[in-house]
């Protein structure tokens, strides 16, 4: 009698298909040895929105009855393995039905395994990953977060590599040969993918994490009201009007204290206050009202409420004024404007460095032209995700604004997106 419970924590929409393929692969692989399994997602409002943290699960067991025993919960509460397919989720998971911030390793059993796709080192990741009361293992699958869209899938082998790594982590359930066979047979499978799975199996390595290691921040949490405490008629108090800053020269809106949103962020805007023309577009267009108005009439993206959607970058008319940067590059939610006001030169250095840090700053949301995948494979090692690709959502207008040298130089314009792309696309 034995069972294996795995969750895949992913970014809503962008990685929906990826997570589903990983959990399907787990069940199909373990079925090779006659085991029973279930692959499922749980949805609420948020998990199927762009970038929102979401989860898929796979449970496999020796017998049907044992599987039922472990399926009989809304979602698993104890996990053998957590697979995190975007390392910015190491900061925690929120908005899963509003119960505060869940550390990425919260549901792991003692001695469990956390597998993260990342280009960062364990010690870098441990700056984000919360401390846990029991030791566990941290595995890193080298690679960038694999992003695509709702109806498309980024065929960069991430799902096959995650399954290969899982064969190393839980060989008693997922034999590597069974994984490779299942990967090859799947409707999305191929021999090349099976090879990727095997390579990941051979290369992936673990580090045991002690109770003293990790981020010591206490995750925020909330008490939910009782039925008789709630207002009737589906009404909730409005968020109060904001407060003036520095004698009315600036303005800071009040924000929802129960829904922080910042873990929904895989990228964040970095603002160049020196080139801002105060046009108000970012402030008006931000769907989350995340901008504070500074006494100078500048707009400071408040990192407590920014969900990283990238609308501000898209609407900003000024070249290089707002740039979306990988969330992993940041350790806190400090005000950029405060930093800028205190020391403008230091801020310039800081922001330039954040924007320049290519390995971590770029996200690709699928392939934008034919041959891009082959190009990425040819330039970089498969395991590292290949060449950084600069265009995508958010940041789709990067090239139109003329920054970031692209992997392809001779450009024409896509009839679909209006974005410049390679000839022959």
């Amino acid at each position: 009698m034995a069972h294996l419970t795995v969750e895949v924590v992913y970014r809503g929409i962008f990685q929906k298909n990826l997570a589903a393929r990983i959990t399907r692969g787990i069940v199909l692989s373990s079925r090779k040895a006659g085991r029973w399994g279930i692959a499922f997602g749980r949805y609420g409002d948020s998990p199927q929105r762009n970038g929102i943290p979401a989860k898929d699960f796979a449970i496999v067991a020796d017998t049907k009855e044992e599987l039922e025993q472990h399926m009989a919960r809304y979602e698993p509460k104890e996990l053998h393995v957590t697979i995190c397919v975007d390392d910015t989720l190491c900061k925690g998971v929120e908005s899963w039905a509003w119960y505060g911030l869940q550390p990425i390793n919260r549901l792991l059993l003692p001695g469990g395994h956390l597998l993260v796709t990342s280009t960062r080192s364990p010690s870098e990741l441990l700056r984000d990953i919360h401390r846990k009361e029991t030791p566990y293992h941290l595995w890193i699958l080298p690679g960038k977060a694999s992003f695509s869209g709702l109806w498309v899938f980024k065929e960069d082998h991430t799902e096959a590599r995650a399954l290969g790594a899982l064969a190393k982590i839980a060989p008693e359930f997922l034999d590597v040969d069974a994984v490779c066979a299942a990967v090859q047979e799947a409707e999305w499978g191929s021999g090349l993918k099976a090879e990727s799975a095997r390579k990941a199996y051979e290369r992936v390595d673990a580090r045991r994490i002690q109770v003293s290691e990790g981020n010591d921040e206490v995750p925020f949490s909330f008490e939910k009201p009782k039925w008789w405490e709630m207002r009737e008629g589906l009404t909730i108090p409005a968020i109060p009007v904001g407060k003036p800053v520095e004698g009315g020269k600036g303005y800071r809106p009040e924000r929802n204290p129960y829904f922080k949103k910042f873990t929904t962020r895989t990228m964040r805007p970095v603002v160049n206050f020196d080139t801002c023309v105060k046009c108000t577009l970012c402030w008006i267009q931000c769907p989350d009202s995340c901008f504070d108005v500074t006494p100078e009439g500048l707009y400071d993206a408040n990192m407590e409420s920014c969900c990283g959607c990238g609308v501000c970058e898209a609407v900003c008319p000024v070249k290089d004024c707002i740039t979306m940067v990988n969330e992993a590059a940041f350790d806190d939610n400090q005000s950029q404007w405060e930093m800028w006001r205190q020391d403008k030169d230091a801020y310039q250095v800081w922001s330039t460095e954040k924007i320049r840090d290519k390995v971590t700053t770029e996200r690709s949301h699928g392939f934008r032209y034919r041959g891009q995948y082959e190009e990425e494979l040819a330039v970089g090692e498969l395991g590292l995700g290949g060449t950084p690709v600069a265009d995508g959502i958010p940041g789709e207008n990067i090239k139109r604004k003329g920054r970031h040298a692209s992997v392809h130089t001779d450009q024409s314009t896509s009839i679909v997106t209006g974005v410049a792309e390679a000839p022959g696309a």
């Binding site: 079925r31 279930i38 692959a39 499922f40 609420g44 039922e68 025993q69 919960r73 409707e187």
Partner: protein, 411 residues
Amino acid sequence: MAVVTRPAGDAVGLDEQEMLISGSEAVAEALTLADIDVVTAYPIRPYDTVMQAIAKKIANGKLVAEYIVAEGEHSQFEIVKHASTVGARVFCGSSGVGWMYAMEAITVTPALRVPMVALVGNRALDDPGAFGVEHNDALSVRDLGWLLVWIDTAQEALDTTLIAYRVAEDRRVFLPIAISADGAFLTHSQTITRVPPPERVHRFLPAYNRGDLLLHPDNPITVAPQVNEDWVIEIRRQNDEAIKRAYTVIEEVYADFRHTFGRGPENPWFEEYMTEDAEIILMGMGTLSLPVKVAIRNLRQQGKKVGLIRLRWFRPFPYEQLARALRQAKAIGVIDRDYSFGSPFGSGVVANEVRAALYNAEHRPPLIGFICGLGGREVTLEDVNKAVDICYAAASAGRAERATYWLGVRE
């Protein structure tokens, strides 16, 4: 929907394929096997997963059917209603408020004797905006002549879809059937499911034959003329007779399903789990059977004789069969994943139906209604244990202290 390349374990059904599919995908597999002709679609979660799975089947050349994206659920149900009258085998579906938006079309379908099959991916009725399962959407048509069946697993989703066409299209019935699948728990969960070969399905499910009711130039008829008090009650009486005949037809069809496929339940109406010697019988519909079964297995180890009756068919309601199955129980607990505000005893819909079914019975044990798991909230093992404790207390007192309890609500 990759095929698991592994032969089925036993002799019967060796020609079946194993697939890892969700409840919604299982319905789409069945629709492909049933070779439906017209399907209409309008997205709403969780039903949209069925619509996507069918679209994929058509796009991949596995199914040839008219796929019509309607501009709303009302049109969705109108289109299939008309297609069915000209002889098309049709499918349609929705969830929650989408189903309610189609209500006018849904209401008139039974009177026209349209044997359509619909999937209701059960969902809470907004507002409050929510996606989780409640059964009030499908239950809202319980009095209108629709046959209503609840399913529990992807396998049952596939099998019941085939059974539903056979029952609906039986000339003795000729009424629409809505299959209810719990949102998320069934629609979005992939499990290993056996898919029979088309030849076997064709033996089980003959072509749809509308006979003298076919709207066709060779068979000139008018459908749905205006009638008033001279005609209406007779038409209702016809429907009443048709749904009564469904009792016999459903028994026959399940027997033939077992004969054809070598699996399927002996008792079409409800699944009985550990009821042979049960002192306490819990009842419910859909996927809440899973935590209840697991809780029962745990309670049995403590010597508590608890069983489950998971109701499949809600319309026609198996009142005689239930009265027989419940005659040994010392107390009955009915878990409703629905509400019926202002109802007798403040109970849920199923609890009061069971109460009514037992009214003429010689043995009427205490019956307690539990309202639980609304809006997709988990029905926990602790909720089930609490229900069992309350039932045991009622059994020893010979009466229920309270008729209805809400479980798992913050109070």
